[in-house]
Amino acid sequence: MATQMLEPITEQTYYLNFGPQHPSTHGVLRLFLKLDGEYIVEADPVIGYGHRGHEKMAESHFYEQFLPNSSRMDYLSGLIYNHGYVAAVEKMAGLDVPPRAEYIRVICAELNRISSHLLWFGTFIMDLGGFTPFLYCFDDRENLLDILDRVSGSRLTYSYCRFGGVAKDVDEEFISATRQFIERLRSRWDDYHNLVTKNVIFIHRAKDVGVINRELALRFGCTGPILRGAGVAYDVRKAEPYSVYPDLDFEIPTGTKGDALDRYMVRLQEMEQSLRIIEQALDGLPGGVVKAAVPHKVRPPKGDYYFAVESARGALGFYIVSDGTSYPYRLKARVPSYGNLQVLTDVLPGTLVADTVSILGSIDIVVPEVDR
């Protein structure tokens, strides 16, 4: 019997399944990592563990029935998704929205953006090993969720927007609670900056880590804080203004390098800008009804429609094909996290395992949004 010569193993690399059950993959993301020691040679994000078929579901539901689904794609900025979907259908069917409702939508959407960014702030620092800031910002977020709970009846998956307006008018208490929250959050920035932004360990962990420059961000279709962190001042609220954003004064914070620290700073400044928007919207809140009379069943005319809003994670677009019935023929959601996640294949190689969590945290993906 001939002796079979075994090839000696020269490969020094090995594979590591990072997720889908892992403390810092934020849901059910699986990263298939090829490692050389602790250095990453190849990274392959595997998605689909949170797939629920929302887009297909839309085809068998009335336009109204799809409303609750919209806020369940990205559960952290549900209200913005809600707003995006409702506004898209309104554009299709040519429905009018009372100005008061538009203002309320913007206020709630910006509150939702802050709540999403606050959660990101906490989890990002937790990924880096600091547990305390997480609970600080959850304390603030709790306050915020109570406000949104008061007006919409739910804390996470709001179906607050309706075709032609919003479900319920806001009351004085909502307005005063929101103003108090603005005060409160502004008084907390110092705490956050002292605890995290000025922390030398944090700066070491975030600076020059996971650089996503302009070219890379544009190539992968990254939007939101990632694109802005790379220095591109693209924000749907300014680029394709919708609702009452053109009447409000706010800035688009941008970074320069596109590293994790830039993305961190962009998000923190965005929260401050959101506070400004809410303040102005509260000041200019007009009276009147909050819901226009709309037909019982929406039947948009035949055609293709696209409408984009800026979610907490980037540009969110609804592409809806109507065949003239009360069901959408096809609904496609252009979700920001999808593009933002793809960039990992280019950014991760060459970094350490420890950087994986800080890069992943700084990108702020929501996996159910990617999978839909």
Binding site: M126, G129, T132, L135, I201, L352, A354
Partner: protein, 335 residues
Amino acid sequence: MAAAWNSLVNVLGPDLTRIVIGLVGVLGLVQINALFLVWLERKVAAHIQLRIGPKEVGPFGILQTIVDGVKLVSKELITPRHVDRKLYMLAPVAIFLPVLLSFVVIPFSETLQIRDINVGLLIIFAFSTFNVLAILMGGWASNNKYSLLGAVRSVAQNVAYEIPLLLSLLSVLLWCNSLQMSEIVESQSRVWNVFWMPIAALIYLICATAETNRAPFDIPEAESELVAGFHTEYSGMRFALFFLAEYSNMLIVAAVATTLFFGGWKSPPFLGFLPVPGLVWFFLKTYALIFGVIWIRWTFPRLRFDQLMNFCWKIMIPAALLHLVVYAGIIKFIR
């Protein structure tokens, strides 16, 4: 009682009796310390984080850890299929034993010291280095990539931080001119060493934090990266032993710091008139130091592995070496 005592002394001889009884006492101390420290850590963390912490079981939740311990004991000991069984089972014991033995030479008070050996300090560091071996054992035997990564990180980290730690202590030895714990305490009757050499104390405390794998140096068990590091695959009482060893280690390094830099069981010089026993001073100082370590853990994020090693090799070791040379010169000049 007296008869039993006499027969015990007759059989074992006075020295061995002292050690046996001492070790049994230390075993009790270690358990109570772990129970107390886990509770303290949770309470302190809770108050830092605007929470209340455990409060249901016993007054201020002090019995919470006992209940947790009972839960851990009652858990199934899971042995995954592909582990190296012998090493896997040995590791939790191996990590715990050296910790226990280190307590032999610690002077808890003027009289309460199991053995006052003239190389006391050496014994402590000889034993505490065993730790690495046990962690590597556990991480390697678990046959899990996360465990292995944790073990490798731990070995690199502990070996690296051992150097500045010992260097910082060398200046203390030169200063006190002894390795014997009781003499080191005695030499601090008037002024604690920490006032003579604050930098050495700082280096020691930083390195000790790294030695005990506490945040911000807790990378071997970095939860967000390596799940639980080297003890990912351990359950039940085996996990509890790793836990116990971690908290006992904290006690050891804090006790050594107290003895070497903060005057041991002696009262602060200006409070000498208070009728407080040395034991109380000792534990007050030790737990004050531990409180500082806990405080740091719940404030800082974690360093990255390469940054940790850079910090050690490029800052800590040169600083410790420089400190040693400078102090050696000063001592030579004075005497």
